[in-house]
């Protein structure tokens, strides 16, 4: 009747339901209470993912009593009356304005998350250019390569610079080598691991230099986290549809913070005719990938945008970026190699030796590096506590150990020799 679920950091007892029996309310309440308890402590150490845990939607709990489904095309509405389309349209207007696309020229929807946004953006590109080739840097989110595979589009993976930006020269070479096919380019406005912003202007210039006219390319911008940051950071590069880009997507649960994964995809209205297919059953057009789409997320996003306003968001962005600088400096002061891109809240550093330590702080690792994403819920106290523990544990991992394998990993190839504190580069620097 019961089984321990100790996977995934949850040490709780949940009733199995494989016997198909009814379980009484008290037993279920008990399980939920234990679960809430087990997850309530995670927040204090949640550093490795771009998920803002600092939100409060208590004012919206009554919505949970309703099934809400924004099936079909948000710009048309549907005959499914339990929807939140008016809120969704408000949210879409907001983002279209943020990214400088006129109200009568955009199309978009609230997605189930960043993956669907990338999928739909790249799909629009494919429908425009059925024989197009996708170009994406190797630091792109894994969903971009998945979209290419699912959509059966050839994908050229382009290398990256140390910063994590796409290698512009290599991109140019690849474009020239495939000049006979239209280009569908997926750019990162903030890569997942290093928070690198691909230079849209430079890529557009490269396309022009390589002889790709505007009717021969499509640029999708994966701005999952940074799409809500760069518009509020003075001096940061623009995300703007005044440039010949095709689509932008962000995640609603990242910078903004939301209980469920969700996102926003904005593209140009003129492209959407390619995707349209009237469905009488819902009295709408089936223009989105997921079809039935949750109606709660658009209201949560609407609420957060209203509550914060432009000024509130700007303050939050500045605060996160400032704390990220603080963390990078702290790590470096303690002799730990660390790196932070401009306008970024993602601090990259050597991978901790101990998986238990990484798990405690919910760190996301890749090869020799790890990172902290400084979101709104991350306080200076958390960062101090993290650095102190890291420094202390690190001593234990490496101290007095002359075995090369038990020394801090070299991260020169990941974040540059000047940011690497491995035995070899530390010596060179000093």
């Amino acid at each position: 009747m019961e089984k321990a679920a100790q996977e995934n950091g949850h040490s709780m007892i949940i009733p199995t339901i494989s016997q198909f029996n009814r379980v009484n309310d008290a037993d279920m309440a008990n399980v939920i209470a234990h679960y809430l308890d087990s997850i309530s402590h995670i927040r204090d150490h949640f550093l490795g993912y771009p998920t803002n845990l600092d939100f409060n939607y208590d004012a919206l709990v009554q919505l949970l009593r309703f099934h809400l489904n924004n099936v079909g095309d948000p710009s048309m509405g549907s005959s499914f009356s339990l929807n939140s389309n008016p809120f969704e349209l408000c949210v879409l207007d907001w983002f279209a304005k943020l990214w400088q696309l006129e109200k009568n020229e955009y199309w978009g929807y609230v997605t189930s998350g960043g993956t669907e946004g990338n999928f739909q953006g790249i799909l629009v590109g494919r429908e425009l250019y059925p024989d197009g080739i996708i170009y994406a840097s190797r630091d792109s989110h894994y969903s971009v390569l998945k979209a290419a595979r699912l959509l059966r589009v050839k994908c050229v993976v382009v290398g990256t610079l140390i910063s994590g930006e796409i290698d512009y020269d290599e991109l140019k070479e690849s474009l020239l080598a495939n000049k006979d096919k239209p280009a569908i380019i997926s750019l990162n406005i903030g890569t997942t691991v290093k928070g690198a912003i691909d230079d849209i202007d430079l890529v557009l210039q490269s396309l022009e230099d390589c002889g790709f006219t505007q009717d021969r390319f499509y640029v999708h911008c994966d701005a999952a986290l940074f799409g809500m940051m760069v518009p509020f950071d003075v001096g940061a590069p623009d995300i703007s549809f005044k440039k010949p880009i095709g689509s932008v997507t962000i995640s609603g649960h990242k910078f903004l913070g939301c209980p469920m994964p969700c996102g926003i995809l904005i593209t140009r209205l003129k492209y959407i005719d390619f995707l349209s297919s009237e469905v009488e059953y819902i009295a709408s057009k089936d223009t989105t990938i997921t079809g039935s789409r949750g109606g709660h997320a658009p209201i949560f996003i609407w609420y957060a945008l209203n509550k914060k306003g432009f000024n509130g968001l700007q303050e939050e962005v500045q605060e996160c970026v400032k704390k990220a600088v603080y963390l990078r400096d702290c790590l470096k002061d303690h002799g730990i190699g660390a790196f932070l891109n401009k306008f970024s809240n993602i601090v990259v550093f050597e991978r901790p030796q101990d998986d238990e330590f990484a798990r405690k702080w919910s760190l996301a690792n890749k090869g020799n590096i790890s990172h902290v994403v400084v979101m709104k819920h991350v306080s200076l106290e958390m960062l101090d506590s993290f650095v102190n523990e890291f420094v202390k544990e690190r001593c234990a991992w490496y101290e007095g150990n002359s075995n090369r394998q038990m020394q801090p990993p070299c991260v020169a190839e990941d974040i540059g020799a000047e940011n690497c504190a491995c035995a070899f580069h530390k010596i060179l620097i000093s």
Copy 2:
């Protein structure tokens, strides 16, 4: 600052946020209150969609304070610690058992809805048979044809019988005409409009008859609504992995009832290696289409299954089917052509003349027909009220009108001459 949102049945004022200003809490509370009021009355007339509005998850509202994300492969868990994987695994175990697949032989996940379930099921088929052809009846959910288009797989659309079932003879002809290519067949365990159950055994027999061995076909079952009904209805056809089927999907928000669209996809574990791709960043495999997946829905499903148990579900199924019979009979008694498939809760009838009437009752129309899906929240009183109003309005639409265009539509081609009450067939019958 404000705009009226009268689309989609909502007559409320919502503050636009295009000026990027903060909105105060009182104004937002006002908007939410108006919205809640506008949607709270919809339930009383919500007849046309397979969405059970009779649920109560008040015991789970605290979960809204947490972001929950089941990113990656549920069978592996992930390094994203704010997940509900233990609940998801429980739910998957339950459905695997229901559909008779052993625990160590299944793979699945909680999806964002029926569309993703169909997409993933058909994707598994495509990855097994990259040169396969999809066969789907014309009464399939629109997501099946969309999946074919997105996945770039040729799709043969097969006609249907009056009942809505796939035309088995035509399917055989199509299979024989394309014998050189593997077959990916998407069957309906309950079509969207007529609630017709394709005969799995007959289709498997047809495959054998046409010379397709088990390593040359894949059968996906779209059981969005009926997957939660037929296992509880004595005498109804089995959904069972003891037969050589490849995948089954249902929607969590349909028979079970859930605030957000969600679903379950179950397939055979042995197929999943084709889809796997390790992603170090999340310490999991990227086996699902959406990647980041909401962690709340699995807990809601877990809660509903526990609360109802097998017996509770059985009672609910019997009740819905009984009320559907009642509605069909009422309509026929009033001289309105109506039709109900066996084991179905979907009553099909002539399309009401007046769109306003259809909108009031949230009816879903297709051509000359409309339907009511008798879900748990649909009471006999609602049905009586609906029939009475239909009969009364219908008199006004057609009475004394000798113009052929203003007579009840002929639905003989849709639901059979014997169920049609149009001027011509009524005469033939009487």
